[in-house]
């Protein structure tokens, strides 16, 4: 196998090419796009999405989907917000632990309904999307957590740095991404998640506890959505019951799918998901820089997602053909 051939075998090739295309187009229209500032904006925008995408990717690989993550994020954020109001001295590690636990419980509830009552995950999480959002309103009484409710050391988590000038939140996200990569690529459990999504019946016959595997994925997905709740409070400085996390599931799921994770389960990678989220982040920052009128931005954003998905499939198909002809 020569190097060129090896290169063509990389599944993430399609999405990587698209990122290059978008960056080249954007910077040729306006060279301001290539400045450090806009890249800083990209990398500040993605940690929250990226962390959620890691969990969502695991759920999708094992043949499910969790669309309640936006509400889980909001619930964890509201809970930690009220804790900050009463105990402003709560340290960062404890806040992380609390939001992670809250999220994990909510994710596990999704998982238990899916596995034990045999309801399709789209239906279950569509229900809990609304249920959990309702809990946010009940717990908060409709009250918003304001900037002065959130302690300074939490705000600074997403702004200050202890390593070069990279914000702590970005380093923390990178660690989560790396752990997910090792888990999925190299651990026994990770491979069992792929096997479960690839062929649940065969996985069961091989002695894999597919209920346990599925619960694990939903639990982690919820946990990471909970942690994203803390990120939200830290980065935006407020938590609003009716706004926080609304619609975020679409961005996360779109990023995971653009990154090459198969919606029918069994395949997908951390690198691909990272590139998918990165592409969405770049587009998001590029649109205002390119002076595209606000009214058009949302439509163009959606259009690019659809184009990227089609283009990715096209590239994969072409590469497959090329590989087959070079093998023959």
């Amino acid at each position: 196998m020569n190097i060129f051939d090896k290169f063509l075998r990389i599944r993430e090739l399609g999405i990587f090419s698209i990122i290059i295309i978008v960056v080249v187009i954007a910077s040729s229209i306006d060279s301001r796009f290539l400045t450090v500032d806009s890249w800083r904006a990209v990398f500040l925008a993605i940690p929250l999405i990226l962390v959620m995408a890691m969990g969502q990717m695991m759920v999708i690989i094992c043949r499910h989907v969790d669309i309640s993550i936006g509400s889980i994020l909001a619930f964890a954020a509201i809970i930690i917000g009220f804790i900050f109001i009463h105990y402003p001295g709560t340290p960062l590690w404890l806040a992380l632990l609390i939001t992670a636990s809250v999220g994990m419980i909510m994710g596990l509830v999704n998982g238990i309904i899916v596995t034990h009552f045999n309801v399709h995950s789209i239906i279950v999480t569509l229900g809990t999307l609304s249920l959990y959002r309702g809990l946010v309103f009940i717990v908060s009484g409709g009250r918003q957590i304001d900037r002065n409710d959130i302690p300074v050391h939490i705000i600074s988590f997403s702004q200050t740095s202890f390593f070069f000038s990279i914000p702590a939140i970005l380093i923390f996200s990178a660690i989560i991404v790396l752990i997910t990569h090792v888990l999925m690529r190299h651990s026994v459990l990770g491979r069992e998640i792929y096997a479960t999504g690839s062929n649940p019946e065969a996985a069961h016959l091989k002695g894999i506890n597919i209920t346990k595997v599925t619960l694990f994925c939903f639990g982690v997905c919820g946990m990471l959505a909970g942690i994203a709740g803390l990120f939200y409070a830290s980065r935006f400085g407020y938590v609003n019951p009716g706004v926080t996390g609304v619609g975020i599931e679409f961005i996360v799921i779109a990023g995971v799918i653009i990154g090459g994770t198969s919606i029918t389960g069994g395949s997908g990678s951390v690198l691909g998901t990272f590139l998918g989220i990165l592409l969405l982040g770049i587009i998001n920052v590029a649109l205002p820089v390119l002076n595209i009128p606000g009214a058009f931005q949302k439509a163009i954003y959606g259009l690019i997602i659809v184009l990227a998905l089609s283009l990715d499939q096209l590239i994969i198909f072409r590469v497959k053909k090329l590989r087959e002809s070079s093998n023959a």
Partner: protein, 494 residues
């Protein structure tokens, strides 16, 4: 390891499907299981491999009584099942497919890639498969996937291998390779249970053969002490009382309505030619998978064929969709009633009238419910369909009554050709004889009928002519007076 069973029995919701099976298999032996579809051999191997638990009896391994409560328990006892269709993880590597479920270490420990890749390579080369264990499973042939399943069993140190019709998806060349490996494993002391419908294969590979029929183990013989004719006789058993085939006036006119000429569908059937006459009941016999259903679907326009032609009422036709076929006068009662025959959550009346939308609606395309009730009640009365009202949902009826509804549906559309695919599967004896009467009446009215059935007595007591199929090809066309269970089975298995 020496495996034997004592009086194994299995009952499914009151129905006794397996009775007092005393069976044994020894190390270094290939033991073949044969029997018709539904004879109990599949149920039996599912018990041995932990998919079902027996309702009665005991299983011993080297004189020690064991419980096989799950597939995993079977594997822990050294019993592995090789599925007819390989159960693969197409997204994962070959080595992962071999070791999935029994990799070293706990959940969060690192996969020892070097170990599993090296072990896989060793096992694969021991069975003569040169394949890189790091390759992705996707795109490998069925034969290779099957070898990888066998490699998986070897990686678990299995001592007893159950192979469920392993040769049916393979080409002759691949079958030869598989047999080499089976012989090699046998020499190494593996006990192998081998299910097949092909007697010549069993003769080539097996040391002993056990014949099942209607849930009973009929006989276990050394392969060189039994002839093929004897095996077939054991499979069919006593003669069942046969009803006489009824001739009718239309048949005497000898009017060909459908003429199928040399049609083929890759992988399913090849070079199929036959004529069908008005008033004729043409039986299709053969084992499951012989290609009969595919031919029926092709004639009905639900599947395509690649060559040949079909002539209907003197014109060459091509049914591109079932809708087209229905308009021309074809009807099809499918094999899988729940999936393809009924609209479960819809009323009986609406099901019965669903093939004649134009007759029950007005010029604006709106359905006249009065016409629906009238049209359907004619057949509900005629066939004595048991229901509370025409508005009852069809899924609440018994299988036999559902089948009567489906046949009513096609009678309303007055088809010239009616295809019946296993029309009496899962219906009780009473309904069965009513159904036979209806089929004969239809033929008497000039309808040409294609009858596909796996029950030989049914084929024999209804069909004017019988087409016997094996592995996608017609092996014999028999006249009713020349046909018997033995002759049919001979051409269906050979």
């Amino acid at each position: 390891m020496n495996l034997y069973t004592k009086n194994i029995g299995k009952t499914f919701s009151g129905v006794n499907v397996l009775r007092e099976v005393n069976f044994n298999v020894e190390p270094g032996e290939v033991h073949a299981l044969v029997g018709e579809n539904g004879a109990g051999k599949s149920t039996f191997v599912k018990i041995l491999s932990g998919v079902y638990t027996p309702t009665e009896g005991e299983i011993f391994l080297d004189e020690k009584k064991i419980q096989i409560a799950s597939p995993i328990a079977a594997q822990k006892n050294g019993i592995s099942l090789i599925h007819q269709e390989p159960q693969s993880f197409s997204h994962l590597s070959v080595a992962e497919n071999i070791f999935m479920g029994h990799m070293d270490g706990s959940n969060f420990s690192r996969v020892k890639w070097n170990d599993i890749n090296q072990s896989s390579e060793k096992i694969l080369s021991s069975i003569g498969l040169e394949i890189n264990p790091k390759n992705i499973m996707e795109g490998l042939s069925i034969a290779d996937q099957q070898m990888i399943e066998i490699a998986g069993a070897l990686s678990k140190n299995s001592k007893i291998l159950i192979m469920d019709e392993p040769t049916s998806p393979l080409t002759p060349n691949e079958v030869g390779k598989l047999f080499d490996i089976v012989n090699q494993l046998k020499k190494q002391g593996m006990a192998i249970i081998f299910i097949s419908h092909r007697l010549e294969e069993i003769r080539a590979i097996a040391d002993r053969v056990t014949i099942f029929r209607d849930g009973d183990l009929i006989a276990t013989k050394k392969i060189n002490e039994i002839t093929n004719d004897e095996i077939i006789k054991f499979m069919i058993g006593r003669n069942i009382e046969e009803i006489d085939v009824i001739e009718n006036d239309y048949l005497k006119k000898n009017e060909t309505i459908l003429s199928v000429n040399n049609i083929s569908q890759p992988g399913n059937f090849k070079n199929i030619s036959f004529d069908l006459k008005k008033g004729e009941i043409l039986g299709f016999a053969g084992l499951v998978g012989a290609g009969r259903t595919e031919i029926a679907k092709t004639i009905f326009g639900a599947e395509n064929y690649v060559e040949g032609e079909i002539t209907y009422k003197g014109n060459i036709i091509l049914n591109k969709s079932p809708n087209e076929a229905i308009h021309k006068g074809f009807g099809y009662v499918p094999e899988d009633r729940k999936q393809m025959g009924i609209f479960g959550s819809v009323a009986v009346e609406d099901n019965i009238t669903s093939a004649i939308p134009n007759d029950i609606s007005n010029n604006f395309g709106l359905i006249n419910t009065k016409t629906v009730t009238e049209k359907s009640s004619e057949y509900i009365d005629k066939f004595d369909i048991a229901l509370t009202s025409g508005r009852q949902l069809i899924q609440e009826l018994s299988g036999g009554n559902q089948q009567k509804c489906i046949i009513s549906k096609w009678l309303l559309s007055k088809p010239s050709i009616l295809i019946l695919d296993e029309p009496t599967r899962g219906v009780d004896v009473g309904v069965k004889s009513e159904m036979y009467e209806i089929i004969n009446q239809l033929a008497n009215m000039g309808t040409a009928i294609i009858l596909i059935s796996s029950e030989l007595p049914e084929i024999l007591s209804l069909s004017h002519r019988i087409i016997v199929m094996r592995e996608g090809q017609i092996t014999k066309i028999l006249d009713s007076k020349d046909a018997s269970q033995e002759t049919i089975m001979k051409f269906a298995i050979s």
